[in-house]
């Protein structure tokens, strides 16, 4: 599988990331837009990165933090659903060996069947039924399903579950080796609240991905991914982790800004409305505390469109300022800005020295790792 790395694709306000470890490829969310000028071809890059099995590209794990459109755009177009045996070679879709979702994907009545969230819901239902019926194929790659968090509506009977505080060292029944997840959220209360007020963000899966050094048990790099979890969720994460002696699960070398660098990580919105006398411009101390769990040389990655000094939210400029205050300008990276500067996604290679942001472009054609563009008279 090559080098350990984590890749944040430039997908505007949305999330698509790829973790590559020695044992597994892991995609979290997808917001794969139609390719045109200025839009990075995420699918092509994924196909370059992923392994193939029986000629079918596959990811060992797909984590759907939650099913808002900016986290599952074009899922149906690019990811295979249904039995692996129904795979159509012409589609070149990506097979998902194991799928992690939160409970609300089945509890959300507002999902339309033909939306990408609807396609995922159908796939989750298919896999769920294999477990429910104790089908012998339920543990096969391409059928595996894991519920992350609380099963509020008892829709995931017999489905394996990871709950906050769990450390996950296996996927597809295979050891990840030198890599693991710490599950932070959603908590039971998040799931209940999300069902109550129909806010998908509240049930976001939050995890810490942990890369270990090649020898020993020290961490090489820890990455916090928070979906669109807001400051209330993060306050709970902080409180529970500290209370349960899991402070090391709060520490981070890379922090993916929740909700595309919006202010919701720091406080309620609107940020400020003088007319209505609203002022939420003071960041919550719990959120600042979370950021202060940063480690040496830590980087913040804002997965959003370019952040400009205006009233947009997300991305939100004052939120950016808060992040920069913590890690410094050179350690704050925005997927879109990075793409504009370097014409590539943000990629951190991870080794015993930690995470290295790879800015340089290598001469891939002369190295024989990339095809040159088509030549000839036909064009």
């Amino acid at each position: 599988m090559g080098k350990n790395k984590i890749k944040y694709y430039p997908v505007g306000n949305g999330d698509t990331s790829l973790i590559k470890t020695s044992k597994a490829n892991i995609i979290t969310d997808c917001n794969i837009r139609e390719v045109k000028d200025g839009i990075f071809d995420v699918k092509k890059d994924l196909l370059d990165e992923l392994e193939k099995r029986d000629g079918k590209p596959y990811t060992d794990l797909f984590v759907l933090s939650h099913h808002d459109n900016d986290h599952c755009l074009n899922f149906g177009k690019h990811f295979h659903t249904g039995k692996v045996s129904s795979y159509d070679d012409n589609d070149e879709k990506i097979v998902i060996d194991e799928l992690w979702v939160n409970e609300y994907i089945l509890g959300d009545d507002s999902i339309s069947d033909d939306s990408d969230a609807g396609i995922i819901r159908k796939e989750v239902g298919r896999r769920r039924n294999l477990y429910k019926n104790n089908d012998s194929s339920k543990d096969e790659r391409g059928n595996r399903l894991v519920l992350v968090g609380y099963d509020g509506n008892n829709q995931f009977t017999n489905v394996p579950q990871h709950i906050p505080g769990d450390i996950v060292t296996q996927i597809n029944g295979t050891d990840l080796e030198k890599f693991e997840f710490f599950i932070h959220a959603p908590f039971k209360s998040d799931v209940i609240e999300c069902n109550a007020i129909n806010d998908r963000n509240l049930s976001s899966i939050v995890y810490q991905a942990r890369f270990f050094k090649s020898y020993g048990t020290d961490f090489a790099c820890r990455v916090l991914h928070g979906g669109d979890a807001d400051h209330y969720r993060w306050a709970t994460i902080k409180e529970k982790s500290e209370k349960n002696d899991n402070k090391d699960a709060l520490e981070w070398d890379i922090f993916q800004t929740p909700h595309h660098c919006s202010w919701t990580f720091f406080n309620d919105t609107p940020y400020k409305d003088d007319d209505k006398g609203i002022d939420n411009s003071e960041p919550m101390q719990t959120s600042i505390d979370i950021l202060n769990y940063k480690l040496s040389g830590a980087k913040v990655v804002a997965t959003s469109k370019a952040i400009v000094n205006n009233s947009d939210n997300p991305p939100h400029y004052p939120a950016r300022t808060e992040y920069v205050d913590v890690v410094g300008e050179s350690n704050f990276k925005n997927t879109q800005k990075f793409y504009e500067d370097f014409e590539k996604p943000i990629v951190f290679e991870i080794d015993d020295y930690g995470a290295t942001l790879i800015k340089a472009t290598t001469a891939a054609i002369s190295m024989g790792v990339s095809k040159p563009s088509r030549a000839g008279r036909a064009g």
């Binding site: 790099c221 040389g297 980087k299 050179s330 290679e349 020295y353 995470a355 290295t356």
Partner: protein, 725 residues
């Protein structure tokens, strides 16, 4: 090239105004680096130097070992003369100093990066602006990880000088050599120059990036490493002073300059340290230094004690020259530079035959300090020997014993009189106990007699025999196994068997009379026309093979051949098992594959009897018979259930081939035939008649008579009569 930094003028230069080719190449390459390289400014320096200020954005991990940042401002200084590498400096005020691969400069900052190990003359063919920029980026990225200095690279010297001093640890004086170099000596001429040695505590790896020009600088330099240099030197100076006063040495002793050799263990990592040395020529007399340390000498015999004075005023005027230390050549140094496994350092090897191949083989190993040697040869060096001998000292070595000449040459080279001992005798005159104390014996005498002597007379020591074929195109090495199961004589037989089996080697032992030169009047005073380069190639191969075989336990037969393209072909011979049988004080060695071949042939021919000829060799001295092959029943043989008459068709031709290919070493030995099923291996009446015939024949040939009978279950019995030869 000095790497000192001088500030540029404030005059800015536009890209289109750049004059230096290197500047233009660098600037035009910046675009290729995308956003990872930003040109900040270009300034004009003196002497038409151009200062390119760039921001590098190297890929730096979160937890770098060295404090290299994600953004570093670097200035590249190009010169009008495009024949040298541009200088590179890191401008950050707190850029770390003392990193590996940084240059020594007058001031510590800005830090001068040593981007290339090679000089521009070497690099210019691949040099380009982008290559240069990429190299700087690599420097930053690898230094961040402390990977620029590879694990297997030597540690960097503490400080680097321009000239050097050759050091023998046993010498206490120093003498001047041409070219600004110095050498330690035991026999000073004129005013003695004193050599002092001190040892420091271990320090971290990394060069000092500040120039040392005087004793005050030097003292400060060590103080920065928490080493009190003056405290280390003082007792050494006093030792000399006391010696002088007690011995009443004349005034020259006090006028001698002092050379300081500092031995500094450098830490490769937190656990391992490696010894390094640095030399300093201190431009002060022993007398002056003594007074600085608090002892002034009055009238050469009295000491006036005073307070030591290490002040800047006192030490600054004393110039210091850094000298790169070079250990004098020794066995250890030779091993180090040759990558020799030290486990053989004290092993004793005996080499027999110090001729062309032997002497060059030995010198190859001597130059790498390999082992300790007994050199055995009774011959002397005559003029023609020098064409291919390792000695080229025609003046002094002519008519000298070969072993003595080459032993002396090696011992002088390594400054080690114990490295080799000459034994100017024949092998037969050398005490066996001396040879048996060897860890291995190499025979390069090109003498079958020596090889057989070693095989039969010297037990419990591993032996090798290596020789060239008559025309010098092939090298052979016979190597006994470590347990002595396959001795040299058996390997010799197996070698002949191998020659017969491989058509490529049919001419290996061809002997051309016109290829021989008679160098004196004796019958044996013949030498071959073999070019020196063949000896050079084969002595190198033999030395390499010998070293590698010492690490292997198995027996082997190897042959190397120089081919028509001046490459070397390699042949390895399979070694068979041999069945050993003692008969009447003789030992019969029967090659197991030959037994197998005959037995299978017998089965094919059943119910008829069959037979053939036994091929091999006889050693009448050691009473050994080696059966290496057979000629199966010729086509005109008569094979019946109760009789066999061996035919003759093709036999003469086959024996001629065997004789020619093996240079007469293998030949007709006797006969074998088979008995039908369920018959014993005893001689029948007919067999007895035939054996009597064979005995008569054998007498004529001067060898024992031999007849083998093969029967059921692949069993055989060999009948033998040596008629008391």
């Amino acid at each position: 090239m000095k790497q000192d930094y001088t500030n540029p003028s404030s005059k800015k230069v536009k890209i289109e105004e750049l004059k230096n080719d290197h500047s233009k190449q660098i600037v035009s390459s910046i675009d290729a680096f995308g956003g990872t390289l930003i040109l900040l400014d270009i300034l004009q320096g003196s002497n038409n130097a151009e200062y390119l200020l760039l921001n590098f954005l190297p890929d730096i991990p979160n937890s770098p070992i060295n404090d290299i940042r994600q953004e570093e401002t670097i200035v590249i200084i190009t010169s009008e003369n495009n024949q040298e590498l541009p200088k590179v400096f890191a401008l950050r005020d707190d850029f770390p100093v003392g990193l590996p691969h940084t240059n020594i400069t007058k001031t510590q900052r800005p830090v001068s990066l040593c981007v290339f190990e090679d000089r521009f003359e070497e690099l210019k063919h691949q040099w380009s602006g982008s290559y240069f920029l990429q190299s700087i980026k690599n420097w930053l990225e690898l230094t961040a990880r402390d990977e620029l200095h590879q694990e297997d690279q030597p540690l960097e010297p503490f400080v680097i000088g321009s000239k050097g001093i050759i050091i023998n640890p046993n010498h206490i004086h120093v003498k001047k050599l041409p070219g600004g170099y110095y050498k330690t000596t035991d026999s000073p001429i004129g005013t003695p120059m004193h050599r002092l040695s001190v040892f420091t505590k271990p320090i971290e790896n990394g060069v000092v990036n500040q120039r040392v020009e005087n004793l005050y600088n030097l003292n400060q330099l060590f103080a920065e490493k928490d080493i009190d240099l003056m405290a280390l030197i003082k007792p050494k100076i006093f030792e000399l002073v006391d010696f002088d006063v007690s011995e009443g040495i004349n005034g020259d002793f006090w006028k001698g300059l002092v050379f300081l050799i500092v031995q500094i263990p450098i830490l490769r990592d937190s656990r391992t340290e490696e010894p390094t040395m640095v030399g300093f020529k201190i431009n002060a007399t022993l007398g002056l230094l003594s007074s600085i340390f608090g002892r002034t000498i009055v009238n050469l015999h009295s000491i006036f004690e005073a307070k030591p004075d290490y002040s800047e005023n006192r030490l600054s005027p004393i110039g210091v020259e850094i000298l790169n230390p070079h250990p004098s050549l020794s066995k250890t140094v030779a091993q180090l530079y040759s990558g020799i496994d030290p486990k053989w350092s004290d092993s004793i090897f005996s080499l027999i035959g110090i001729g062309a191949l032997g002497s060059q083989f030995f010198m190859n190993l001597a130059r790498s300090g390999f082992g300790k040697w007994n050199l055995i040869d009774k011959d002397i060096l005559l003029p023609h020997n020098f064409i291919r001998h390792a000695s080229t000292n025609t003046e002094n070595h002519i008519t000298e014993n070969k072993a003595e000449a080459i032993s002396n040459q090696a011992n002088i080279l390594l400054n080690d009189q114990d490295f080799s001992k000459p034994i100017p005798k024949t092998i037969y005159e050398v005490e066996k106990t001396k040879l048996q104390k060897s860890d291995a014996i190499m025979d390069m005498s090109t003498s079958i007699g020596v090889e057989r002597y070693l095989a039969n007379e010297l037990k419990d020591v591993r032996k090798f025999s290596s020789f060239l074929n008559p025309i010098g195109s092939d090298l052979v090495m016979l190597s006994e196994d470590i347990k002595g199961h396959y001795l040299l004589d058996i390997l010799e037989m197996q070698y002949y068997k191998g020659l017969l089996a491989n058509p490529d080697l049919a001419e290996h032992l061809d002997f051309e009379q016109e290829g021989k030169i008679r160098y004196a009047r004796g019958c044996r005073d013949i030498t071959s026309k073999i070019p020196q380069e063949n000896i050079s190639i084969f002595s190198g191969i033999a030395a390499k093979a010998f070293k590698s075989k010492l690490n292997q336990s198995n027996a082997s037969i190897d042959l190397w051949r120089i081919n028509e393209y001046n490459g070397v072909n390699y042949y390895n011979f399979k070694i068979d098992n041999w069945v050993e049988e003692k008969i009447e004080g003789w030992t019969i060695y029967f090659n197991e594959r030959v037994i197998e071949k005959i037995s299978n042939f017998r089965i094919e021919k059943l119910p008829n009897e069959t037979g053939g000829i036994l091929i091999g060799a006889v050693d009448n001295f050691y009473k050994k018979v080696y059966i290496t092959g057979t000629i199966l029943a010729p086509e005109d043989s008569i094979e019946r259930p109760t009789l066999f008459i061996r035919g003759i068709t093709g036999v003469r031709e086959k024996l001629e081939v065997i004789r020619k290919v093996t240079n007469d070493n293998l030949k007709y030995l006797g006969e074998w035939h088979s008995h039908p099923k369920n018959c014993g291996l005893g001689m029948s009446g007919d067999d007895k008649v035939q054996f009597a015939e064979l005995l008569n024949e054998a007498k004529l040939n001067g060898q024992p008579a031999l007849m083998s009978i093969f029967g059921d279950d692949k069993k055989h019995k060999t009948y033998f009569d040596n008629y008391k030869i």
